[in-house]
Symmetry: C2
Subunit: 113 residues, 2 copies
Amino acid sequence: MARAATTTDAFNAVAEPQRRRILTLLKGRERSVNELAGALRVSQPRVSKHLRVLREVGLVSVREAGQQRLYKLDARGLKPIHDWVGGFEEFWSQSFDRLNAYVKRLQRKEGGG
Amino acid sequence: MARAATTTDAFNAVAEPQRRRILTLLKGRERSVNELAGALRVSQPRVSKHLRVLREVGLVSVREAGQQRLYKLDARGLKPIHDWVGGFEEFWSQSFDRLNAYVKRLQRKEGGG
DNA sequence: TTGTAATATTCCCATATGGGCATATCTTCG
DNA sequence: CGAAGATATGCCCATATGGGAATATTACAA
């Protein structure tokens, strides 16, 4: 088997930097393909291909507006990533560090008393 | 060019489900390769390969203990993912919804008054 | 209808994947 | 030393990637 398809899930879709940039650009408002291509300084077919992936995993939706396609962010699909990664927050968060230190102090007291 | 290497960054490394499972298993404590293979019900070479990727992106570290290699989680590398995805939290978070509603109400007042 | 703008798709290429399997490496034990 | 355990690596395969370039598709304008 090869690597899982980019369209498998949000994790795979978002592993590609250009697609992340696209999603970020779509945060504010809908954008057309050419608009995105211009902002990213990337060829139109390339953007279209990335958008297809994002569409297939449901991270964006399209709306026809004349000869344009307006792409809109639908970021709900990112929640699983946020949830999973969030499970590791204690490993870099300051406040978690403090909580940890506190708990350990408590544990020492318990053990020692 | 082909798809970016899995060892390019945490985004790519973590796109593979088995590697996520490994990281999750390592949350509690260090584990040997065979221990991981057993827990995941996966062949040892497979685990070793995934561990190599995780090592190369710095998400785990290794320690030699006799003939075993004990792998330890180093989740700090996940923070960039958490940060990036966190930028989209408003799109699924209830509390953000409420905040949004509140802001919009305010804006209507401002605009109307 | 013809032409042009906006997108999508197709074909080609180089690359590296994840898996299976065999094997090399290194460590410890007898 | 030789055998066995624990890991890492190498090779082979099928697959799909992301990019470029060309072209198909669709919508609108003249």
